[in-house]
């Protein structure tokens, strides 16, 4: 167990090192300049441009910039080009905003996808199964932003309530219950929209997984023992069928920082996805590279966690 951990950690550190180089290089390869340098602005003389490049350290050779960047990154001194605020503080704050969206989205996916997947598998080839299949594929193929717009227009026009942002903007000094419910309401649409595709995809997985298990020998054995159908389906079949999904739990972790660029932009949600997106548009290198790096770390941790989880639930596997 311990040797495995050490070995993996060592490997992952190397991977991380290469990721850091690649992500640093790619952002500098992309055309464009940090937002305060606007080459289209006729008032920008070449001297002014040079001054900005110096101020941002962009006139140094790349390897010097790379070393300086990660030195500042690890000492927490890194600041955004755009507003000169500490990058780390920005990322923490935005992640905190994205967190409820992420948690609720995950809850929704797992809450809806399992019953849906199981129900369609059990009632295979019935009208219910077929109509659900159509609906699910519709959800997978309709672009998320389009669905989100439809939903926003429908809700706002019909109920005349706000759905954009963290809470009803400009509403202050209300009781804690009001405030909590207000925030909850504002979570509903974005998390549902974010979860829609996830529900659709996961329920298909669950369905096919269930179909495979239902026709397995040990299920037939259980049935032939005379167990009632519910017990067969939800105890014997479910447990084994859950295995692949346990590993998915670990892979959720990087989603923490990935956020959802599209839905956070549409819903004016000040989350981490929008932070990254706007930083890319403004060529705010410190923010982009930091988010990239943290996402890489989380992905590596996620794979490690899912390995460990798998080991935990499947006694056949020993590392």
């Amino acid at each position: 167990m311990l040797p495995f951990l050490v070995r993996t950690a060592w490997k992952k550190l190397w991977t991380l090192f290469f990721i850091s180089i690649i992500s640093f290089g790619i952002i500098h390869l992309a055309p464009g300049q940090p937002s305060q340098i606007d080459p289209l602005n006729p008032r920008f003389t070449p001297q002014q441009l040079e001054r900005y490049r110096q101020a941002f350290g962009l006139d140094q050779p790349l390897y010097v910039q790379y070393a300086r960047f990660y030195q500042q990154f690890f000492t927490g001194e890194l600041r955004s080009f755009k507003d000169n605020q500490p990058v780390f503080g920005k990322i923490v704050e935005r992640t905190r905003n994205s967190l409820p969206l992420f948690i609720l989205g995950t809850i929704l996916i797992w809450c809806y996808a399992f019953p849906l997947g199981i129900a369609t598998a059990v009632r295979r080839n019935t009208l219910f199964d077929r109509s659900t299949t159509v609906l699910v594929f519709a959800l997978i193929s309709i672009p998320g932003f389009y669905l989100a717009y439809l939903a926003i227009i429908f809700v706002v026009q019909t109920f005349q309530v706000d759905v954009i942002g963290l809470r009803t903007f400009g509403r202050e000094g209300i009781g804690p219950w009001y405030a909590m419910m207000d925030r909850t309401w504002h979570l509903v649409l974005p998390s549902l929209m974010g979860a829609a595709a996830g529900i659709a995809v996961l329920s298909r997985y669950v369905r096919s997984q269930r179909l495979a298990v239902i026709s397995a020998d040990y299920v037939r054995t259980a049935r032939s023992k005379g167990l009632d159908e519910d017990r067969v389906l939800y105890r014997h079949a479910l447990r084994n069928g859950l295995l692949p999904f346990v590993t998915m739990l670990g892979l959720l972790i990087p989603g923490l920082i990935g956020g959802s660029v599209i839905f956070e932009t549409i819903f004016a949600w000040p989350g981490i996805g929008r932070l990254g997106y706007e930083a890319i548009l403004a060529r705010d290198y410190p923010v982009v590279i930091s988010i990239n790096f943290i996402a890489a770390v989380l992905t590596l941790i996620g794979t490690l966690v899912s390995d460990l989880l798998y080991m935990l639930v499947d006694p056949r596997i020993r590392l």
Partner: protein, 702 residues
């Protein structure tokens, strides 16, 4: 509980919990539910975030919107677009004019032109009430003086800065005239009185013969024979305090000017203030501004927000730099934290700025005109156009700029009130007059007559635009309403082209001397309206028999490679204009070089003369007369086909009203009134939201 039950109950419970939260959220009509304070909060939305909250450095509209609430200038525009004092209570504009004395010249009576001789001659004429000296208050003699300046010995080459030489020149004595008002023709009239003395003056005579020839022309410019120095004296408002309690005074005005001109700060406002010679405080409550030359449009730039000197002067910046561990020598106003937490004298004080979320302001209880009715102002960033619209319907923003296609639907909505007006800018098709085909005014006119502008307005802009005949905003006095628009007359257009020598060939195309009338019309890609105009124009011209190709180019290529270098035939573009009469940069024949704005190459000596005189004219009546003449000239020459001015429509919650103090000391609600431009926000400090829409007049409790 079995697994089956759990699988059914969990989603049901989650769904119910989420859906019930709806009942705790207020609707548009009921925004104040649970929070009466919402009625005292104003929320404005923007697609983009502000970039720098310092009026001397900002160049984007989001920053400008906030700066205009936090800062205040010396003057601004009143309801009727005339100037009104803000931080300045009043002002006086007069002129100081300088005339070089050249002893080698002779006066009309044959005596040498000594300073004393000139003064004696002029005083005699003044006593005789000579009309050329009508405005002269005082004549003084200034002794000869040494002038030191840095001149460019060798122009800058790529990769090599310009070589600079320090030169000291001796300027001969000068006469200083103090005039009661600015008069651009003063020297012309004086010259007649002095028998051509001024015309004969040659500054090169005053130069040291040892000066290298490369520097002579530049040096001569330093000793102008005659010089106009317009002077503005602002009397400042007393007792106005910055948001931190420090009193505003003339030092702040001087400091703001110096901040703009300091090259370290990279201010985009430099061109507005470059013609200023000096800004001198005259005691704490008056400031005297002297200009290097006649430049009437410069007056408006004193609407620029005034910075607090005590927060940004050298000492304060030094302290801040040291506290941040930065090099104080390289630390400029641009680096200061002030730009993210500004302090001004305006009606709202800055509270908080959350990047990409909102900027929050609170009212300035100490505002000299009385505190605004809204207690808080939010500038909310919503990065998406459609959600911007929907937050307005949900009541979480208080204004919305409707798109042209939405106007007819939204203006009848009982929940909102709308205001609309003409934009200051206009759209046009510009013809590159360096191309031989476009040198004939008949061709330009014919092309304009072939386009049905009304069709563009009706179908491309959903009726949300109006025609225009010239370069000035329609609401200003400079626009001459008597200029007739170019008629839509394809048959007449064809006749004009035939007059110009074009005949249809066998293929149906117009040609002259065997050469077909063919050119390319370009615009920038990504602008649907311009692309539509391009297609309409192409279609209209092809029907005449003109071979037109069209091309939409990516913005950077379009501007840098084609327009700025004059490498195009015809172009669809638009200008956004200010409220001043100055068209020098856009139409003067000296502005046709690369990267200058007269890229169509328009040149008309009479128009050139008018443009120079207009920017030098300080008398509004005379300026208007000249501007109208210029409008007529340009309409006659048709360097552009003037298409339309857009109409904007701004929607507001109908619950917004003005709360104004009545004559008896009580407050009452009053309707919103608009300025000459149609803008409703002039009295923004009086705005407030009432719980339910009111009819006027209604008396509110005090």
């Amino acid at each position: 509980m079995s697994v089956k039950q759990l699988l059914i109950l969990a989603p049901t419970f989650v769904s119910l919990f989420l859906l019930q939260s709806y009942f705790w959220v207020p609707t548009f009509e009921d925004q104040a539910r649970g929070d009466p304070g919402r009625l005292t909060r104003y929320i404005q939305s923007s697609i983009g975030d502000a970039s720098i909250l310092n009026p001397t450095l900002s160049a984007d509209s989001a920053s400008a919107a906030i700066n205009s609430l936090v800062f205040e200038g010396l003057i601004d525009r009143d309801m009727d677009l005339s100037f009104r004092g803000r931080l300045a209570e009043s002002w006086r504009i007069f002129e100081e004019a300088y005339l070089v004395v050249d002893g080698s010249e002779r006066l009309p009576d044959g005596t040498p032109a000594t300073p004393e001789g000139l003064v004696r001659h002029l005083e005699r004429a003044r006593a005789a009430k000579h009309p050329s000296l009508r405005l002269v208050e005082r004549i003084e003699v200034e002794p000869a003086e040494a002038v030191t300046a840095e001149l460019e010995a060798e122009p800058a080459a790529p990769g090599k800065p310009a070589k600079v030489a320090q030169v000291t020149l001796r300027r001969p004595p000068r006469l200083k005239f103090t005039l009661t008002e600015v008069d651009q023709d003063f020297f012309a009239r004086l010259d007649r009185l002095l028998g051509g003395y001024i015309t004969r003056l040659d500054p090169r005579r005053f130069l040291d013969p040892a000066l290298p020839p490369a520097l002579r022309a530049q040096a001569a410019e330093l000793i102008p024979p005659a010089e106009h120095n317009p002077v503005i004296v602002f009397q400042l408002r007393r007792g106005v305090r910055f948001h931190d309690g420090h009193e505003f005074d003339s030092g702040d005005v001087k400091f703001t000017y110096e901040t703009i001109l300091d090259p370290k700060n990279l201010s985009p406002r430099v061109p507005d203030f470059e013609p200023v010679k000096s800004v001198e405080p005259q005691g704490p409550y008056a400031v005297r501004i002297t200009y290097k030359r006649l430049f009437q449009p410069g007056f408006e730039s004193w609407g620029m927000g005034i910075l607090p000197e005590h927060r940004l002067n050298r000492e304060a910046l030094r302290k801040e730099a040291l506290a941040l561990g930065r090099d104080p020598e390289r630390f400029s106003v641009r680096d200061s934290r002030f730009n993210r937490s500004p302090i001004g004298t305006g009606p709202f004080r800055f509270v908080e700025w959350k990047t990409d979320q909102y900027v929050r302001l609170t009212r300035n209880e100490d505002y000299w005109e009385g505190p605004p009715n809204f207690r808080e102002f939010y500038f909310r960033i919503i990065p998406d156009l459609l959600t911007t619209e929907l937050t307005f319907y949900a009541g979480t923003t208080d204004e919305y700029g409707a798109q042209p296609h939405q106007v007819s639907r939204l203006r009848d909505d009982p929940r909102f009130k709308y205001y609309s007006g003409l934009a200051l800018g206009y759209s046009y098709i510009g013809y590159n007059m360096r191309r031989p085909v476009f040198q004939d005014v008949r061709v330009r006119k014919a092309l304009g007559m072939a386009i049905n502008v009304q069709e563009i307005i009706d179908y491309v802009l959903y009726g949300q635009a109006e025609g225009t005949t010239g370069p000035y905003p329609r609401q200003t006095d400079f626009y001459d309403p008597t200029v007739a628009p170019l008629p839509y007359d394809p048959a007449g257009a064809l006749r004009l082209l035939e007059e110009a020598g074009y005949r249809r060939n066998a293929g149906g195309w117009l040609q002259k001397d065997g050469k077909p009338l063919a050119f390319t019309l370009i615009t920038n890609s990504g602008n649907e309206i311009r692309s539509a105009i391009m297609a309409i124009a192409q279609n209209a011209w092809r029907r005449l028999g003109v071979k037109v190709e069209t091309l939409a180019l990516e913005w950077a290529v379009f501007i840098n490679e084609r327009v700025d270098k004059g490498d195009f035939d015809a172009v669809v573009l638009g200008w956004s204009m200010g409220l001043d009469a100055d068209l020098y940069q856009i139409f003067h024949s000296s502005q046709t070089g690369h990267f200058q704005l007269n890229f169509v190459g328009y040149s008309n000596p009479r128009a050139d003369d008018l443009m120079v005189r207009i920017r030098q004219e300080y008398d509004p009546g005379r300026q208007v007369a000249m501007a109208r003449e210029l409008h007529r000239l340009i309409a006659e020459d048709q360097p552009y086909t003037f298409l339309y001015v857009g109409k904007w429509t701004q929607l507001f919650d109908r619950k917004i009203a003005r709360l104004v103090p009545g004559p008896d000391g009580t407050s009452r609600y009053a309707p919103i009134v608009t300025t000459k431009l149609g803008s409703p926000k002039f009295h923004f400090t009086q705005w407030i939201k009432v719980p339910h829409p009111v009819d006027f007049p209604v008396h509110a409790a005090n």
